[in-house]
């Protein structure tokens, strides 16, 4: 049946689900080439030290070993916007697990055998693991040569001769005057732990440096253009000499944003005479060396009126970036300003400090700081509400940002659906009725910005059979980008869903895009594809007007065909307009689209003010639970998760993002903890020892979608991916206090901490991790 029904909003099947179900979907580690070499990395066993000697002579004699490189062979540094990290350690190691020697051999057996025969002598230096210690002037410097590194001083401000690589400042109103006017002052310190991203696919990269000087990397990379840019800058090349191809990713969650496995594969490929080099991280390396969600300390002080209005807030955030910057400077900025919460607080003061330590590097994680900030500000909010006797939902409604209010960064956002999410969540939880006996409950609200500046672009071409290839650099990692981009393209073109094929991601084919991160793709790439499709649609209409001898204004498009309105006999199918084959009277249909949010501005580095995001994610989430006070075990009964999508483009995708994000929130609130021993070694670097939620641990989740159309979003839509991970830990902590009257300010919330808080365990009885 011919129809011009919209393909937006319904539960649309994922376009790549079939190939994933039959096992034919290709991931980076599945790719192989003739004459390919296999890499093995020798890593530092110590947290801080000078490399005195490297002897590779015995390793080089192993049959099948082709290439061995050390830091001095590839003296390049990467990380944007602070180029501090070498491909392999140069002269010094700064954390346990840092790469020191890379080996490429004909097979894994030879590479593994050679790795055991590398001799390295180190001179130990004092290491620093505690960011509170590391930020003091007396601490040993992790990077004494910091002043020699390239950095973008427009984006962040280091403190010279210290381990503080970024000091973020937000100043708004008069915070001291605000405290002076307040009836109550509340203070709290909240700690979020380091944890691993837990993507099931280990990082993998295959690098080929061909004899023409082109570098190609097939990689588990979320953000191919970002990675190509970083690699090219490090190598001193134009970006086009680095081609990054990202197939399907087996989960990203931020772990695969930016360079991870790539520099090591590239270091070997540069010295391997045109042979491709494959490097797949072991799971142990994923834990010790690929990156973590870093530990954070938040100290928050709020001035509150008698009725519950927050009129002043001062926050200090300490970000532990580990041994290198990675996203540290921007995480410190975006995370620190997010510590103010989704509230209209007239007087604000934030200091964020991003600090080097001798630990595995902190990388981006789904929500980019808002998970850990919301643990602080939403725990703090319930502590305030409880102390002054105001209902937790009422105090939030009193302080929540509404349309027309300014954020802490001085922006007046459009289409603010915050209160709608809170109302939906409270209604679903029957908040106005009393809770079930023996249980605790809580509702939290959060706001998460998206990265800016944030350009995306896309191409579309019509194929000879009237189908389309859409070229875009948004990487599919399970978030459903190929499906939502397919829907946006089909809707804009008037094409059938099955006629759209997404080609992603290959920087030699798919045009520039900032990143697959920050819940930005539906909004930014969606807009780019929408514009590319409008461009193509115009070309189609021009041709069809000619073919059908009709005025353009009389034409309409649906079901992959152009129709003359009111005349069912006059139809031009797309395939007759394609203009692909030789001899076609028409040129090909090729559209292009670019989207850069026009109205964002840079930050003022002294005040933290600016319009720093094109849209916000707004969420409210509720938890019902009970706690066994004999064992400290938390049983979750239900989670309600409400989000403002702008417009829901695919109901199933949104529900899937919510359930998965909430599950990560639960797992990291209750279980996950990357534990370091006193020498800085990760002591639970395997999935067997690192506790994660399993099929038994996730309660029923009710997903609620609120639609407040965003004026700049494609069809009103914005992102959703990160919202569900935010707030869950605070909701659990708040519901625990509601249930049993104890407050946990330190994640994860383990049975030991609960029993200690109940006075049933003494701190001296808890075995220290070793």
């Amino acid at each position: 049946m011919i129809s011009n029904a919209s393909v937006l909003g319904a539960r649309i099947e994922q376009v790549d689900a079939r190939e994933k179900a039959i096992g034919s979907a290709v991931f980076a580690a599945d790719i192989s080439f003739p004459h390919m070499l296999f890499a093995k990395i020798v890593r530092s066993p110590i947290a801080h030290g000078i490399i005195r000697k490297i002897d590779i002579s015995r390793a080089a004699k192993v049959k099948g070993v082709r290439t061995i490189v050390t830091g001095s062979d590839v003296p390049y540094r990467y990380n944007l916007p602070l180029r501090d990290q070498p491909f392999l350690a140069i002269d010094k190691v700064r954390y346990v697990g840092e790469g020191v020697v890379a080996i490429a051999a004909d097979d894994e057996d030879a590479a593994n055998a050679a790795a055991l025969l590398v001799d390295i002598e180190y001179e130990q230096l004092d290491a620093v693991f505690d960011p509170e210690v590391s930020r003091l002037q007396s601490a040993p410097l992790v990077h004494p040569d910091f002043k020699d590194y390239w950095l973008d001083s427009a984006l962040f401000t280091p403190i010279p001769n210290s381990n503080i690589l970024s000091h973020f400042k937000l100043r708004r109103g008069d915070v001291d005057a605000g405290f002076g006017e307040a009836d109550h002052i509340f203070e709290g310190t909240y700690k979020a732990q380091a944890f691993n991203h837990g993507a099931l696919e280990p990082h993998a990269a295959i690098a080929l440096f061909d004899r023409g000087g082109q570098l190609t990397v097939w990689s588990s990379q979320q953000s191919p253009w970002f990675a190509a840019d970083d690699l090219a800058l490090a190598l001193g090349w134009p970006v086009h000499r680095v081609r990054i191809i990202a197939p399907f990713l087996g989960g990203g969650f931020g772990a695969k944003h930016g360079l991870k496995a790539e520099p090591l594969a590239v270091a070997l490929a540069l010295k391997s005479q045109g042979r491709p080099v494959k490097y797949v991280m072991t799971r142990e390396e994923v834990f010790t060396s690929s990156g973590v969600r870093g530990a954070v300390i938040v100290k928050q002080k709020s001035g509150v009126t008698r009725d519950g209005r927050i009129i002043a807030r001062k926050t200090e955030v300490i970000w532990d970036t580990g041994a290198y910057a990675d996203v540290g400077p921007l995480l410190c900025r975006n995370g620190s300003y997010s510590s103010t919460g989704p509230y209209k607080i007239p007087n604000q003061w934030v200091d964020g400090y991003c600090v080097y330590t001798n630990k595995v590097v902190t990388s981006a994680f789904r929500s980019y700081g808002t998970m850990e900030m919301s643990f602080a500000y939403e725990s703090h909010m319930d502590e305030i509400a409880r102390a002054i006797g105001v209902d937790p939902v009422a105090i939030r409604q009193m302080n929540l940002l509404e349309e027309g209010d300014a954020t802490s960064t001085g922006e007046t956002p459009k289409a603010v659906g915050l209160n709608q999410t809170l109302e939906a969540c409270a209604k679903e939880m029957n908040w106005s009725s009393s809770k079930r006996p023996g249980t605790g409950r809580a509702i939290v609200s959060t706001a998460k910005s998206s990265v800016a500046p944030s350009g995306s672009s896309a191409f579309i071409q019509m194929n000879d059979d009237g189908t389309f290839n859409v070229m875009c650099s948004t990487t599919e990692m399970g978030q459903g980008s190929r499906t939502v981009m397919t829907q946006i393209a089909a809707e804009t073109l008037g094409a059938r869903l099955q006629d759209i094929k997404i080609i992603a991601s290959d920087t030699a084919v798919t045009p520039p895009d900032r990143s697959t991160s920050s819940s930005r793709s539906t909004f930014n790439m969606g807009n780019a594809i929408l514009r590319a499709c409008e461009d193509a649609r115009n070309q189609i209409l021009d041709k069809a007007a000619d073919v059908l001898k009709a005025a353009r204004s009389d034409l309409e498009i649906f079901e992959s065909a152009v129709h003359v309105r009111g005349d069912q006999s006059r139809i031009a199918y797309f395939k007759h307009l394609a203009g692909v084959r030789p001899g076609s009277p028409y040129g090909p249909v090729v559209g292009r689209g670019t989207h850069v949010p026009a109205d964002t501005t840079p930050f003022n580095l002294e005040t933290g003010q600016g319009r720093i995001t094109a849209f916000w994610l707004y969420s409210s989430q509720g938890v019902e639970l009970s706690v066994d006070t004999d064992t400290g075990k938390v049983t979750l009964h239900r989670i309600v998760s409400a989000h403002d999508t702008g417009r829901t483009l695919n109901l199933a995708s949104c529900e899937g993002q919510i359930e998965g994000g909430v599950a990560i929130g639960v797992s990291t609130a209750l279980f996950e903890d990357l534990i370091l021993d006193e020498n800085g070694r990760v002591s639970n670097a395997s999935i067997g020892e690192y506790l994660m939620a399993s099929s038994f641990d996730i309660p029923p989740i009710t997903a609620l979608l609120v639609e407040v159309p965003h004026p700049n979003g494609p069809y009103g839509a914005k992102g959703i991916g990160e919202g569900p991970t935010t707030g869950i830990s605070a909701a659990i902590a708040n519901a625990i206090e509601d249930a049993i009257g104890v407050r946990i300010r330190d994640l994860p919330i383990t049975p030991e901490k609960i029993l200690t808080a109940l006075g049933k365990l003494g701190p001296n009885v808890i075995p220290k991790p070793s």
């Binding site: 689900a17 039959i22 096992g23 055998a113 087996g250 990203g252 799971r283 099929s695």
Partner: protein, 164 residues
């Protein structure tokens, strides 16, 4: 680690007899992926704790990352490719996973489907707890398991309906 000599073995993979050249310490996961063209068998942890490498050996779910290739000689090894013929209809579990949106990144999916298929072979109408038990060794970081559990239950019903 000294490199031992390679030797030939025959493996029966998805009904296909494949001759491969291996060393005695080679793991089944690597041999299936590198020598047998079965990159659908995923490797996530090398330590028997994530379930991504699950295959069926004589019908029982086994972790190919802790199975020596030589120990699989003489057995029937099934990967996710055996669940449905290339041009044929999908296995009810595959269809149910797609329909119920139980697949996000897809990396756990082959192992998850095989654990589920062994469950449904043993129990035609499993309870929710039996489903959770069957897949508790298969880690999924994307979905929160909710839809995977629903999909397996729905597939069990579908199989029951089609062959009462």
């Amino acid at each position: 680690m000294s490199k031992s000599t390679k030797f030939e073995i025959e493996l029966n993979v998805d009904g296909e007899v494949i001759e491969v050249s291996i060393r005695s310490h080679h793991l089944l996961v690597d041999v299936l992926r590198n020598e047998c063209g079965r990159v659908c068998v995923k490797e996530g942890c090398e330590s028997a704790s994530c379930g991504a490498c699950t295959v069926l050996i004589d019908g029982t779910p086994r972790l190919s990352c802790i199975t020596l290739a030589v120990d699989a000689v003489g057995t029937d090894i099934c990967t996710v490719e055996s669940l449905s013929a290339p041009a044929g209809p999908l296995h009810p579990l595959q269809a149910s996973f797609i329909e119920n949106h139980a697949i996000q990144c897809g990396f756990c999916t082959p192992g998850m489907l095989l654990s589920a298929s062994a469950l449904l072979q043993a129990k035609s109408n499993p309870t929710a707890d039996e489903i959770k038990e069957a897949i508790c060794g298969n880690i999924c970081r994307c979905t929160g398991y909710v839809r995977i559990i629903q999909s397996i239950a729905a597939a069990a019903k579908a199989i029951h309906r089609s062959s009462p």
